[in-house]
Symmetry: C2
Subunit: 466 residues, 2 copies
Amino acid sequence: MTATGSDPKQIRMNLFEMCCVSHITHGMWVHPENTRHRFNELKYWLELAQLLEYGTFDALFLADVIGTYDTFRGGPETALAEGMQIPNNDPIMHVPAMAAVTDRLGFAVTCSTTYEPPFSFARRMSTVDHLTSGRIGWNVVTSYLPNAARNFGYEDEVEHDNRYERADEYLEVVYKLWEGSWDDDAVLVDREHRVYTDPTKVHYINHDGRYFKVAGPHLSEPSPQRTPVIFQAGVSEAGRKFAGKHAEAIFLGGESVEQTRHFVEDIRGVARSQGRDADDVKFFPSVNIIVGRDADEVAKKVSDYERLRSVEGYLAHWDSRFDLTAYPRDTPIKTLADSRPDGERLTARFRRFQTVGEALDSIGALNRPFSVAGTPDVVADRLVEWVDTTGVDGFNVIQHLTPGTAQDVIELVIPELRRRGRFRHAYDDEGPGTTLRERLFGTGQARLKPTHPGAAFRNLADTHPS
Amino acid sequence: MTATGSDPKQIRMNLFEMCCVSHITHGMWVHPENTRHRFNELKYWLELAQLLEYGTFDALFLADVIGTYDTFRGGPETALAEGMQIPNNDPIMHVPAMAAVTDRLGFAVTCSTTYEPPFSFARRMSTVDHLTSGRIGWNVVTSYLPNAARNFGYEDEVEHDNRYERADEYLEVVYKLWEGSWDDDAVLVDREHRVYTDPTKVHYINHDGRYFKVAGPHLSEPSPQRTPVIFQAGVSEAGRKFAGKHAEAIFLGGESVEQTRHFVEDIRGVARSQGRDADDVKFFPSVNIIVGRDADEVAKKVSDYERLRSVEGYLAHWDSRFDLTAYPRDTPIKTLADSRPDGERLTARFRRFQTVGEALDSIGALNRPFSVAGTPDVVADRLVEWVDTTGVDGFNVIQHLTPGTAQDVIELVIPELRRRGRFRHAYDDEGPGTTLRERLFGTGQARLKPTHPGAAFRNLADTHPS
């Protein structure tokens, strides 16, 4: 798994964002240099996209929730006061505008399979793939907020494993639309014979499953990537099976270095068992980078962060379903998990702590896995070590300040990684391919590999609705 | 109704578009100067938006269908060959990008109340209202294509009046989210006290109706217009009632001048009966403008249009549910309508013809209502006459060539209307307001009027979910 000196793995950077004030470093929005309160402005996003393209990032990753964190202390008050993921805006609406001011930067957007009809969703993604010239990825989530369920007519959240079964069928539907409904040579644009599309090469999908019934045909003509690059972020047992089957890239978060290596190997094993190559899945753990030109600058940034971080914000976020403040500090995490129907999730979230008190004290602190504070050489050492020991392909950068964190990474860290031969100098270093899938897998790889399960739906029979 | 010389009504222009090759002037896409085959490209839309803003248009109106016209001759073949509204892309995805290259142009986007969950739709529109700084309108449709129903798990189209009942509740839900869920002074952005939102000023909506159950709170903070400008396009009995109640602007199409005057008066009457002002609804019939610098140029354009228009394309479009070619030419329209369960719609569509043969010959021809071909003075005469005799507020320009038709209107027609004092010279002529609602109703009118039914949901009680 360790890269050899002769063939060092290039490190990739993505920026972790969300269309809200307080995404994941709660409390930091009040820092005078932070511009996150501008998230409703289009220019905020255009400037950020241009900055990331200047830094030759792979992609901007946009998280999302379609509900409010309102279980902590029995209401949404903490989330609202903290700006914690509410208010928020629909991430995908920002992408074509950012594509208008960039040429190479990719975009990975979170959309849930639980609440949006697959037919209109499939057209939405195809539209964005056209408008971005093939630079879109889809972070497949199944949603988990109880409030989200109640915004869509359900009494409470959909049961976890059932959500993955439904998601599996949802993917089948959209693969049929994206990969199977239009043949590669369907669109003729033949002015002389006045034929735009050859009707014999467009197909109904006539999907009739357990959860969905969709006739087709797909409305958009084939886009550069057809299926957007499939991202995934879950590491539950069901989530890893799903990821090994479908995902082309995986965002990890909160796991230890050791756990990360385990998940990378586990999911690559699932991929192989599905007939895919281990290398068909890229991994990006989220990383906290605090970098300064010297020790004083680093100390100042760490101090700002520690001073401003809002434990309340983290509690409302991380403890959305587990209000740890309701239990005695010396309660063992294991005891608590055993006593709750959602114990598996609680364990997954807090597995590295013994007691409720330890878990509470750690929330939002910098001593998390994949956190580093230091001068550029220290940070570069750590990033290289993490890549070489865990098998990940790069990182998903958590922002303390926008755009300050990305500026720091671009001005201080990436030049150091370039000196070490571990980061591209320009997108063209890897060839002329401009789609997101080519960014990840190489020029010429704009489409799903033939071994990906979505490719199985490429040759649909020409059927009319029954 | 006729404007007086001292106070002539300013004429407004909108451009009628759709994210597809052949929207409504079927066959014209093959014209060598037409660029509609570029509709998948972001640059096509950016250039068009910039052109319209240069011409001081009110808005770009984007039509949409979420299915395929596949009833004509029993299949989708004609629609596909003609590029007739398939392939098509999701219109709203284009808007923020166009907003990035314009400052004043409005956008009216078609979205159906039948197939998208209201909660995520409401956030999508709020997001776009933020990103466009308040330049978004929503053309409310209930969808009618049988294939669209089958793309969303239904066996066939939802029954017409029932669709409007459902639409009425859908609007109630989104009004609650847009107007009632967040108080005007909810967002504090108070860095000193570390409070982004005052939690006491954000409300669940707890909607529990016949068709929808939605908890809230709304996810986006208040946007410049909150509720997008409500557009409507139906003229059935149920459609007009709906329009008089909800619509702030109405697109008309295909009706005679006499019928148009009747609909304008009828819908304004409904508005008054709902406690609104007659002037709270603006009317824009679609208009065919063929303009040239001299008679030869006009004749050449008319000849091109007549030569290229595809009767097949029009048949597949207009006759989606009425394949008139299946009946003898001398069949009276009335007899045919009486024999069909959808006779009311057939009558509405073809009321100005006696027989099937007459209706067939007229399809796509230029001798339709609100069609004019001539030099700029001839065109201006007609436009002014239509406005002054029917009470409409301007037009929705149908394109024969993109961008040729809009260029012609901007270069030849608008200057003539300006000379007559009937068209703005600059957006600022009407004041500094930049939102779409202010464009229509004046600076300071960014929000729904208090008499609009959506305004009734402004003061929701602060309720937690039961």
